[in-house]
């Protein structure tokens, strides 16, 4: 909940003061020998031929920003979508915080981009009115043209020079949503055609003249460093040209990726390691420590009334422990970055969710100023939070430096990717509920124990860490007289990071499943108990955020109704539900329909209702809901475990992603809203697990409290 702002501030380098560093006063820099362009701000440029280049200040990683954000500009400018060209911004003075995460790409740029487009539209209109010598009010714009009295018509391209000379209006009028021609309609992804022909360039597809490829031999233990090595056999591999030491390990450089990987294999056999402090870390010990921390002292995340007292006074107390494991991002494109160092500075090509930070950290590694490092943001073959980290791009800069400048592409293989992920950490949850003699819920206590992502990310304990780690638990939306949510940090030596859905995934899993337990324990329908306890609440403040419980109640009702909640099902089938107000911004509910037969779990369907404010591109929204549910469901059966400081899982064979045959039908219902857009990439994720496990209970009477799910238990 409240962690989001801190997260955005901390995870990026800049952006605290500015609205994500987006500036409307900056102009695009004309390229060399550029034809005259009309570029009143950094987001767009109209060319004399009428084509318009739109610069996207966020990273495309499948969430559709290279379509959604240009649509916002195009709408306000009244452009012909077919004449729009989309490019990615480079971090720099015009784009100071391009950080892409937290389901904020549309919400954080919405106001700025609308204004950017409206500014250009007004100036083009003014230029045409002046040319025709008519009243500005008699002109309007449509599909790349200004239309004036007497059927006069001028294309934007013809107005480039005149518009560029006009003053930039401060407060251009924004279009009314009633007049939208592009927004709110289905628009297919801009990159679709390039993706299906193999022309789309992801980070790993970058090819520079004279480029070499490198694989870095790193310790399998995160604190390990090479002590001694013999590069002789690696250098014998045809294609291997160099072996160099870098801070993270030893890089084998070759003329092709395979030779680099082969050379690294040889080198590994001839290297000895100092494993460092993490070498004794293992999951069993961590679990013991976490369990101890479930009853020890904790930091308070939410206190309402006196939950401990209410529990003592309760007629009946329910208690349960929930468990969620370490998880990997497992993007299909492994980490990579390509770096070239030249006398005047360096250039990098990489798929980064934090381009500004990638620039700053590479610059620091190279002894350069950030502005001397040009970062080109490639398409991302899956981000999910992993590419907020800059460990891999910084390492590539170090490799290029050690190897004489590059261009060098550092390629991680699948095992590197699993071992050196910034994993999402494990947590244990102790939940207690107090019931009075009538069965009413009087107290709720949720203790979370586990390693802190924020702590790992910042390198030290921060005051807001407790709010971050309790996100999804502290904002339990149900009206219960006494609530206590707290967090106990348990140390872990592995580098951590957020994944899609952040801490909300484990926290909402525990919360929504335990709430289901309470409903069954008091003989109430889980939907009804939720509706009862959402009650007549309106705006409710959680920490620094505020959620509108009416919007949550509405999505819950819609999801339940559309899924046919309460209908009679054959034996062995069940429905389960879960809901959440995500960061007080996006409201979502999911109902899962499952069956369990002979120990086989089948998830037939997930019905999702969302209210995320105005929907810029409904096609994109549905894709995000389907993808978010798939991501959540995948986590039912995956985990990362640790033994002697290294991950037991090194590939997809031990980390079984959801596959086509397992994918349930997904039905998405949008609850229309006049609110500004709020974000949809993550909100569907955390509900999938509790909805399914609550459905498993409905189908079998077996309560599953641990992920990964052990099917032999049902």
């Amino acid at each position: 909940m409240t962690d989001r702002r801190d997260f955005l501030k901390i995870a990026g380098v800049a952006g605290a003061g500015l609205v994500l560093g987006l500036r409307l006063d900056a102009k695009t820099r004309p390229g060399a020998a550029a034809a005259p362009e009309f570029a009143p701000n950094a987001f767009l440029a109209v060319r004399p031929d009428g084509t318009v280049r739109i610069t996207v200040p966020k990273t495309e990683m499948g969430q559709g920003v290279r379509t959604a954000l240009p649509l916002v500009v195009a709408e306000e400018m009244d452009l012909d979508w077919a004449k729009v060209e989309v490019i990615n911004a480079n971090p720099g003075p015009d784009f100071k915080s391009m950080q892409t995460g937290g389901s904020t790409s549309v919400s954080s740029t919405w106001g700025t981009l609308r204004k950017a487009g409206a500014t250009a539209r007004e100036m083009l209109k003014a230029a045409a009115a002046a040319r025709w010598n008519v009243d500005l009010k008699s002109c309007r714009t449509e599909k790349g043209f200004v239309l004036g009295p007497g059927n006069q018509k001028l294309g934007y391209g013809a107005l480039v020079e005149a518009a560029a000379k006009l003053p930039v209006p401060k407060d251009p009028s924004l279009k009314s949503p009633r007049d939208y021609r592009l927004l709110g309609k289905r628009t297919p992804r801009f990159d679709g055609p390039d993706i299906v022909t193999g022309k789309a360039i992801f980070g790993l597809d970058v090819r520079r003249p004279g480029q070499r490829f490198a694989a870095v031999l790193r310790s399998t233990v995160c604190t390990g460093r090479p002590m001694a090595w013999d590069a002789g056999k690696a250098l014998e591999v045809p294609g291997v040209v160099d072996v160099v030491k870098v801070p993270t390990g030893i890089a084998v450089i070759a003329t092709n990726t395979w030779a680099a990987l082969k050379g690294r294999e040889r080198l590994a056999a001839d290297t000895t390691w100092e494993l460092g402090s993490a070498q004794d870390f293992n999951s069993a010990d961590l679990e013991t420590f976490m369990r101890e921390a479930l009853t020890g002292p904790g930091e308070e995340a939410r206190k309402q009334g006196d939950a401990e007292k209410a529990l003592v006074a309760a007629a009946k107390v329910l208690e349960a422990e929930y468990s969620f494991p370490y998880q990997a991002h497992a993007t299909v494109e492994p980490m990579n970055a390509t770096v070239q160092i030249r006398p005047e500075g360096a250039e990098m090509w990489t798929g980064s969710q934090s381009p500004n930070k990638a620039q700053a950290t590479a610059a620091a590694a190279l002894g350069l100023k950030p502005e001397q490092v040009k970062v080109n943001v490639a398409l991302i073959g899956g981000g999910f939070g992993r590419r907020l980290g800059t460990d891999f791009s910084t390492e590539a800069a170090q490799v290029a430096k050690a190897a004489g400048g590059g261009p060098i592409q550092v390629v991680w293989d699948r095992e590197d990717d699993f071992r050196h992920d910034l994993h999402h950490p494990a947590t244990l949850h102790r939940l207690r509920a107090g019931l009075d003699a009538s069965g009413a819920l009087t107290a709720w206590a949720h203790r979370i124990a586990g390693p802190s992502i924020l702590h790992s990310w910042v390198g030290q304990k921060t005051p807001s860490q407790v709010l971050a780690e309790a996100n999804g638990a502290l904002d339990i939306p149900y009206a219960i007289p006494a609530i206590r949510v707290d967090y106990a940090e348990v140390a872990a030596p592995t580098p951590l990071g957020w994944w899609r859905g952040i801490e909300i995934v484990p926290n909402v899993f525990a919360r929504e499943c335990f709430f289901d337990e309470v409903a069954h324990a008091v003989g109430k329908d889980p939907l009804q108990l939720r509706l009862d306890l959402l009650g007549n609440q309106g705006l409710v403040k959680f920490g620094r955020d505020e959620a509108d419980i009416r919007r949550l109640k509405k999505v819950l009702q819609v999801a339940a109704e559309k899924a046919g909640w309460g209908r009679k099902l054959p034996a062995g089938r069940g429905l389960g539900l879960a809901c959440h107000a995500y960061d007080g911004r996006t409201y979502a509910a999911e109902v899962a329909e499952v069956s369990v037969e002979k120990g086989q779990l089948r998830i037939h369907k997930v019905t999702c209702a969302v209210d995320c404010g105005f929907v810029v591109n409904p096609a994109g929204l549905e894709a995000q809901v389907e993808g978010g549910i798939a991501f959540g469901l995948s986590a039912l059966f995956t985990q990362i475990t640790w033994e002697k400081g290294h991950t037991v899982q090194t590939g997809y064979q031990e980390f079984p992603l959801l596959r086509l045959g397992d994918m349930p039908e997904v039905e998405t219902h949008v609850v229309q809203s006049a609110e500004a857009p709020s974000g949809i990439g993550e909100p569907p994720v955390p509900l999938a697990i509790p909805a399914v496990l609550n459905a498993v209970f409905a189908a079998t009477g077996k309560r599953i409290r641990k992920v990964p799910v052990d099917l032999s238990a049902i």
Binding site: G62, L204, L379, R659, L660
Partner: protein, 157 residues
Amino acid sequence: MAAFTLTVNGQSHRVEASPEMPLLWVLRDRLGLTGTKFGCGQGLCGACTVHLGDAPVRSCKTRLGDVGSRHITTIEGLDPHGAHPLQKAWVELDVAQCGYCQTGQIMTAAALLAKNPHPSDADIDHALGRNACRCGTYLRIREAVHAAAGQRREVIP
């Protein structure tokens, strides 16, 4: 090192490399055909799928020395203009999210349709069941294969 003559997308290439070198890296690093993706190198994700003759193969697990005279088709050769029915359906149904796995999905689907022009859900699930998509585009993949086969609705309403 040895010399090989490969026919890729109808063009002949001479490649000097170790017969052990996986076809994936020959295509990507030697021939510059980066539409074929590296996802795992372990034969487990399908991102690297190409056709050897008519058969879909995982190029990360196909040794250069084993290709022989079989013709290789990559995504770049399926239809360079994106006019293959699968490519058109993929764009129309907006299948891709990040897009990284999609060339492998399409190549796998193309091999299926060549053998079985009217596949059932089960046929599709079977043929594409080992292609991973972390973005979760599966429902649209299935729908797009049907659409390309001239089955079912063309556009999700």
